[in-house]
Subunit: 127 residues, 2 copies
């Protein structure tokens, strides 16, 4: 497995994208409206920042209310999300998604429960 | 710049290392006592998890008291931390470390202030 992206909750994805472009020399690789979110992916040499801006009430707006802006999750890239989920269940990890589901940018994704991963919200991304 | 590691605050680095080894197929790449911390680096294909366990009062013990265990920072690898800090200061980013300083695993590191990076604590790592 390898790092795919760091998910960042923000009130203003476009402003943060400008800041990260200036600061880290990354560029917008993809942008979309995904469910209740505006999502911007910024490309690094080997992965992405995923900026998550809520446009409606949802998990990210709730996260922002509780925690303020900042790191929301870490995504790891794997060739086979379904196999990775099976392996995770085998070692007793609680799953948020029992099966892969469509995520942003057309990828199959699944989230693990942070209670099982030391408080870290981990996403598996197929690719 | 590329991802170097995701820093995770934990009460028990060894137990979390076992869990991540089982779950993500990573292995312990480095382990040390660094200042007030026990630190374990777990290798992924292209980066690391850095597990941070406080052994004395300090910023990580305070983080755990305020937030509980979980994601603490993101580290980006660069060939030249000093140049990256200069560039960051030029675009108006507030720095925690004005100059590179010795970090865990013998690397030169510097932290940016999360107020300037959308609430994300970002570390530059030389390597």
């Amino acid at each position: 497995m390898r790092f795919d992206h760091a998910g960042v909750a923000t009130e203003d994805a476009e402003s943060l994208a400008f800041r990260y472009e200036d600061l880290f020399g990354c560029e917008i690789a993809h942008e979309e409206r995904f469910g209740d979110l505006k999502v911007i992916f910024l490309g690094l040499a080997d992965g992405y920042f995923e900026l998550l801006e809520p446009r409606e009430e949802g998990t990210i707006s709730q996260f922002l209310e509780s925690n303020g802006p900042g790191l929301h999750h870490i995504a790891l890239r794997t060739d086979d999300v379904e196999a990775a989920l099976d392996d995770a269940a085998d070692v007793g990890v609680e799953l948020i998604d029992e099966e892969p589901r469509p995520g942003a940018w057309g990828h199959e994704v699944a989230f693990l429960h942070p209670e099982s991963t030391g408080g870290v919200l981990v996403e598996f991304v197929e690719g």
